[in-house]
């Protein structure tokens, strides 16, 4: 095989390698990026309840 033929084959292989690596790099970049995460809406208000109980007693006025 002539030297020039070897050169052509070498260049062709190099071209294919470049094409494949370029495509691989671009796909890697796209796949590596996680979907944009939208933070949950901050909870600005919180409510809690308590209870006040009142037993209103009526004094027994009949007792001394």
């Amino acid at each position: 095989m002539e030297a020039r033929h070897r050169t052509i084959i070498l260049l062709t292989i190099l071209l294919m390698a470049l094409l494949l690596s370029g495509s691989y790099l671009v796909l890697q970049e796209i796949n590596a990026v996680a979907p944009t995460q939208i933070p949950a809406e901050p909870q600005m208000i919180s409510t809690t309840v308590g209870y006040v109980t009142m037993n209103v007693v009526i004094p027994d006025e009949g007792e001394p």
């Binding site: 790099l25 970049e29 990026v33 901050p42 308590g50 209870y51 006040v52 037993n55 007693v57």
Partner: protein, 196 residues
């Protein structure tokens, strides 16, 4: 371009290959360049810096709870009592979130002889793990009645979230109206925390 046999010369083939390589490399550089500055950045591959950055976002959460949620009195008409002496015990409001909050209060009517709480049912802030900040209810204040026009009043201003300083007492004072019938009454007290 063509040799004597009518075929492409080796030099022409090499030139075409070189052009193809240039186009391919140029396309790759262009693609990577387009990715830079977008959400797809950073580009992997050759590291231009020896340091990396990790980032995390902590979402603000507003949350309060009542460590003590029930206050019970037993009084006769025209009698008055409060929780200042811890008998009965006061409400204990705790900030369970990760932001400082202002806490407001309102309550349903406690007595049936009046449809407004007014001076018969009052509240104030008292220190617990920390002091009540200026702006809190530092003295007994009339309890807003739920569904009133002036629905909420601030009871605790700037309640921190750090565990060692995230709770305050809310004292309650009741003054039984002279014409209140005997029996058991219950009022629902609503505490609302808003992120500062």
């Amino acid at each position: 371009m063509l040799d004597t046999g009518g075929e492409l010369s080796t030099n022409a083939l090499a030139l075409l290959l070189l052009i193809a390589i240039s186009v391919s490399a140029g396309g790759m550089i262009l693609s990577l360049g387009k990715l830079r500055g977008t959400a797809l950045e950073p580009i992997t591959g050759f590291a231009t810096s020896t340091t990396g950055t990790a980032s995390a976002t902590v979402i603000n959460t507003t949350a309060i709870s009542l460590v003590i949620s029930n206050v019970s009195f037993s009084l006769a008409q025209s009698q008055m009592d409060n929780t200042t002496d811890d008998s009965p015990g006061p409400f204990n409001v705790q900030n369970d979130g990760n932001v400082p909050v202002n806490v407001t209060i309102n309550a349903s009517a406690l007595f049936i002889s009046t449809n407004r709480n007014r001076s018969s049912f009052r509240f104030m802030c008292r220190q617990n793990e920390g002091n009540c900040q200026s702006g809190s209810a530092s003295s007994y204040t009339d309890m807003p009645t739920a569904n009133d026009t002036l629905l909420n009043r601030t009871v605790i201003f700037d309640l921190p979230f750090q565990d060692f300083n995230d709770s305050r007492y809310v004292d309650i004072l009741v003054n039984v109206p002279a014409d209140e019938p005997g029996g058991l009454r219950t009022s629902t007290v609503t505490f609302t925390a808003a992120q500062i």
